[in-house]
Symmetry: C2
Subunit: 204 residues, 2 copies
DNA sequence: CGGGCCTTTGACTGGTTTCAACTTCTGTGG
DNA sequence: CCACAGAAGTTGAAACCAGTCAAAGGCCCG
């Protein structure tokens, strides 16, 4: 069984085993425990992360003091504060491990060097960002189209695996409402399980 | 003065004048009038649009029968239903001209051919999508962080040019509320003009 | 087995929507 | 170039979805 990043790259670009081995040298491997912080809000955003195993989230602190989660990343997803990474400035998000995780991290400079050395990787990242942008375009559609209750039902249908892995208060804030309201919705739909369903999310 | 697309490409990739001339052959030029539809909801999404002059919007119809605008595009912005374009399937958005506009359109096949012929363009599109995704990550942050009223004030500060070009009912729906409520907010802030302010939006 | 974090419950509140009527703007044909 | 019709914007009243706050219950992990 090949390396998860190699598998992911091969979906979009052609690289040899030898090339992949060299590509890997641009990354470092991080092992993080549950609740460990990979990037703090306000800190310089130096890294782009690829999840090998586990689950991360992107979140920020509202002025009310409540944490607002805006993204999750599981196996084979890329995650960072893209604007801060792109412009190498302070992040307006934090990144935290939800589970014990294994992560690849690449710095902005290393990523640029790697892209210069392996131009095929431009295609890979073009595809990764293209899909990410498409997914977030769709997400903005749903935010505007669905009620809070429909958001939950849609998510539960489409990403049932996440319901197990993610605490409810994070899920609630990701979906745009309060944990109390999520409780209420769940009570209302007890026993009404839905079957999984094809769905586009990020780069997978 | 060089072509707007050439200027835009040169921000991210190196191409010669001769190459640009050949790149242009992959596109067609469209002239559309105000209110003209470039893509209908439910229709096959064949084209990726680059605005030379004018203003387009991306929107869809809610089940209540109300149009929901989710994106605008002015000069030098790319716009399409990215998921539908990517997978060459039916669009869940419509695209319409808000003003009389000049637009470049490229089909999926033509874009693929162009990318194979000019691999430097992979870098250009990688950058375009990277910035688009970063912008929409930030937008999702604001949606969750700001009240409807703050959304309006932020938009008015950061994109004052749009206030002139875009009808209020479209702006209201883009910002996530009703035209009636926008009226109320505006009345409340009469005369309190703010100065423009640097901001990241999409690919510009 | 205990403490703290997460989830649930219920009462109250308020930002925002909805609806309907009215006014103002805009563009098109005579 | 004016008139008028339809579109866009405003106003105010009533209703409601979802948030806030507070307190109790459950559960996980040390």
């Amino acid at each position: 069984m090949s390396h998860p990043l190699n598998q992911h790259i091969k979906k979009f670009a052609n690289i040899t085993e030898a090339e992949f081995v060299e590509i890997l040298t641009f990354f470092e491997v991080l092992s993080v425990n549950k609740k460990e912080i990979l990037l703090e809000e306000g800190q310089y955003c130096r890294k782009h992360f690829f999840v090998l195993k586990g689950c991360l989230r992107l979140f920020f602190m509202k002025d009310t003091g409540v944490e607002q989660t805006t993204q999750f990343a599981i196996e084979s997803w890329w995650i960072t504060d893209n604007l801060a990474f792109l412009e190498q400035k302070n992040s307006s998000f934090a990144i935290q491990a939800i589970e014990k995780s294994e992560v690849l991290a690449i710095s902005y400079e290393a990523q640029e060097k790697m892209l210069n050395r392996f131009p095929q990787m431009e295609r890979y990242f073009r595809k990764v960002y293209e899909k990410s942008f498409a997914a977030s375009q769709l997400r903005i559609k749903y935010i505007n189209d669905y009620s809070r209750e429909e958001m939950y039902l849609y998510f539960a249908k489409v990403q049932p695996a996440f319901l197990q892995r993610v605490p409810q208060y994070m899920l609630a804030s990701y979906l745009g409402f309060t944990p109390e309201y999520l409780s209420e919705i769940k009570k209302k739909h007890l026993g009404k399980q839905q079957k999984p369903h094809r769905h586009i999310e990020q780069q997978s």
